[in-house]
């Protein structure tokens, strides 16, 4: 779950609306002497970046609704095998845009919380169903959970339409997605029952790359070398996943050795360290 995006979204939104220094949106030091340039309008490049990424968000939010539907239908119909097959495809679009979901308050925990994240009675969403399908080998009792999930992803798609975006915050979202990989996908803590963590891993990185690609033209202006390095690092990360790909997805997380996870973690940390430089870079290029 990501809370950083809440703040960066609000910062971007506020800064766009007001010519005052937005709360908390600046470097350390006296709040009172904080200044930032008026950002009531974005230049054409920034607008293009925003439009580009908004398109990606919408596409995946709609895909999430579309892939959740048959998954939910299978659960409600009691078709265990089919539900298990349809679980991973429904996870992919969500994991590509996850930080945006988290900016909408309780939607992310309702859709994506793991069992130990929430109090006993509050465990629902994808992972509650995942537990039922893989650990309990049943769909019994999951129909209401599945229907609620469908309602929640629809609500998410609706909110995505209206979300405020700004280039630095899109770039920060790219970082957030890699943080997701580091925190729970690389450790196998995300998909505890189905062990499809590498599916989520790839989706997180795809989402990160899409966010990066959206703001890349801005980065190319201020630091083309960094831009090139990051592009190369994304390729390197995807390559490092290749050995684990199978005909219908990836090997289960449980088959990875410590050496495997270490290679993947090092690849992610390498890319992420460079990617973390982007928000500040494009902020300086946006205002000449």
């Amino acid at each position: 779950m990501h809370r950083n995006l809440v703040r960066t979204l609000l910062c971007a939104g506020l800064a766009a609306l007001l010519s005052l220094a937005a709360w908390g949106c600046g470097s350390s030091g006296d709040d009172s002497t904080e200044t930032s340039e008026a950002r009531q309008t974005h230049g054409p490049q920034a607008e293009a970046a925003i439009a580009d990424y908004r398109g990606y968000l919408q596409e995946n939010a709609d895909a999430l609704v579309a892939t959740t539907k048959p998954f939910v239908a299978a659960v409600v119909a009691g078709n265990l095998a089919e539900a298990k097959t349809l679980y991973a495809p429904a996870r992919i679009p969500y994991e590509r845009i996850e930080p945006v979901a988290d900016s909408f308050g309780s939607l992310d925990p309702r859709i994506d919380a793991r069992e130990n994240d929430v109090a006993d009675g509050d465990f629902e969403g994808f992972h509650r169903i995942e537990k039922s399908l893989w650990e309990e080998s049943t769909t019994a009792g999951m129909a209401p959970v599945a229907r609620q999930l469908q309602r929640d992803v629809k609500a998410l798609a609706g909110k995505v339409r209206a979300v405020e975006l700004a280039p630095e915050q899109i770039a920060n979202g790219a970082n957030e997605l890699l943080g997701e990989v580091s925190a729970s996908k690389i450790t196998g803590e995300e998909e505890r029952y189905s062990h499809i963590d590498l599916v989520d891993f790839e989706a997180n990185v795809e989402g990160s790359e899409a966010a990066f690609e959206a703001v890349k033209p801005l980065l190319d202006e201020s630091d083309p070398d960094l831009s090139g390095e990051i592009e190369a690092d994304f390729k390197m990360v995807f390559n490092s996943l290749e050995p684990y790909r199978t005909a219908d997805g990836f090997v289960p997380y449980t088959e990875l050795t410590k050496a495997d996870t270490k290679k993947l973690a090092v690849a992610i940390d390498t890319l992420a360290e460079k990617l973390s430089l982007v928000p500040a870079e494009i902020a300086s290029s946006e205002h000449s």
Partner: protein
């Protein structure tokens, strides 16, 4: 006379009382025994005996060695004897004396392992605690004396606890400004306990992450943030009585004691380090370098929790300091006394295994549980940390010379 086993030789030493420890040994005459007054330069000795155990209100030292033990025996007499021997040995070490007195008999292994010979006690404190499991062992018959407050900690949101790094029937917290002195204390007590207890898990800590005295500067934890600004200070005796020391509500044997919670908190430093300065500050709720709260300018000013800018709270609703504040927890406060740690590399990730070994002392464990319920569910900091170990101990009141820690419980 029965044959002298290791334990019975030490029994003789114990009955001779504190201060019977040898002052030197042949061949070198290294003098290590003087009871030094508590010196500000960090080399002096802290009195072991007193109304409360030391190492709680004591100004936080720089280094920690902590150990949790499983009790192997259910013989009450053995447990009493263990605590007697441990009390004597701990008092010796804290006074800068060698443990035991058989340290220069050629055919005998020395009582004291020797690595602190020539070192000053450096404010060593040794603090003992009893875990809930101790009261559940039928042979010990302590069930009726179990404090109602001493219930196993419940599962808390976000827990990723490793059972082998959690729990314990008995704990020992050794703190000192000299890491070798802290290490030595645990090592020697573990040795004395062989056969009665076995080590369950241990933790070395290398930097204090709290100030427990107004004379101390606020240290930084491994996130580079000042840690402990709003901590209870030992000089605030009203707060110590209200929030830390058990009063009449506990069983008589716990009066003047406290409860200790330990939480091994892994920090995802690689992820934290690539977060922007702004994100770091918004996560915690303070400016990184000054320690001033967001919206403020001085480290020690009260948190401006009501402050707003453009319709939003200046300190975010999910900021760590807000969620942990007394104001948002019905006035509940904890005495925090934790340490930074690293245990090397997590070989499955090629990343640092490091973070905060959190220690808190509170009058009732519920103070901790309530705060952690909130933090575990809502804290922005959760993106960067994982609670991977946990333990709870009842810390008895202090002992007097001739007595031992836990005597009122075990006698």
């Amino acid at each position: 006379m029965p044959p002298l086993t290791k334990i019975s030789r030490r029994r003789l030493l114990a009955s001779a009382g504190v201060g019977a420890a040898a002052v030197g040994f042949g061949g070198g005459g290294l003098l290590v025994g003087h009871r030094l007054a508590e010196a500000d330069d960090g080399t002096g000795s802290v009195p072991f005996y007193g109304e409360h155990q030391a190492g709680i209100g004591t100004a936080a030292q720089d280094r920690l060695h902590f150990a949790a033990f499983d009790l192997l025996s259910e013989d009450p007499a053995e447990l009493r004897e263990l605590m007697r021997l441990w009390t004597v040995a701990a008092a010796e070490a804290c006074a800068g004396e060698m443990v035991g007195s058989v340290n220069d008999v050629p055919l005998a292994p020395p009582d004291d392992t020797g690595e602190t010979v020539g070192l000053l006690p450096s404010r060593l404190t040794v603090t003992f605690g009893f875990g809930p499991g101790l009261f559940e062992k039928p042979g010990l018959g302590l069930g009726a004396k179990r404090p109602p407050a001493l219930r196993h900690l419940p599962p808390l949101p976000g827990d990723e606890l490793d059972p082998s790094e959690s729990g314990g029937d008995i704990c020992i917290q050794a703190c000192s400004d000299d890491p070798q002195v802290a290490f030595h204390a645990i090592r020697n007590l573990a040795r004395i306990g062989r056969g009665v207890v076995a080590m369950r898990w241990s933790q070395l800590g290398f930097g204090r992450t709290a100030s427990t005295s107004r004379s101390q500067d606020t240290p930084r934890n491994l996130m580079g943030m000042k840690d402990g600004t709003a901590n209870i200070r030992a000089e605030d005796s009203e707060d110590m009585e209200r929030f830390v020391w058990v009063g009449g509500e506990g069983p008589a044997w716990m009066r003047g004691g406290t409860y200790m919670v330990t939480r091994r908190i892994r920090m995802l430093l690689e992820v934290w380090d690539r977060a922007s300065l702004q994100d770091q500050e918004l996560t915690i709720g303070r400016h990184k370098y000054s320690g001033a709260p967001l919206g403020g300018s001085e480290e020690f000013e009260p948190l401006p929790l009501e402050a707003q800018r453009n319709g939003h709270p200046v300190i975010p609703v999910d900021a760590h300091v807000r969620l942990a504040s007394a104001k948002e927890n019905d006035g509940a406060r904890l005495l925090r006394r934790g340490y930074s740690f690293t245990d090397g590399v997590d070989e499955s990730l090629g990343e640092l295994e490091a973070g905060l070994f959190f220690i808190s002392f509170q009058r009732h464990p519920e103070q901790f549980v309530a705060i952690q319920q909130r933090l575990g569910s809502l804290d922005a900091l959760n993106e960067y940390i994982k609670h991977i170990g946990s333990a709870l101990f009842a810390v008895p009141p202090g002992a007097a010379p001739g007595g031992y820690v836990g005597e009122a419980l075990l006698a």
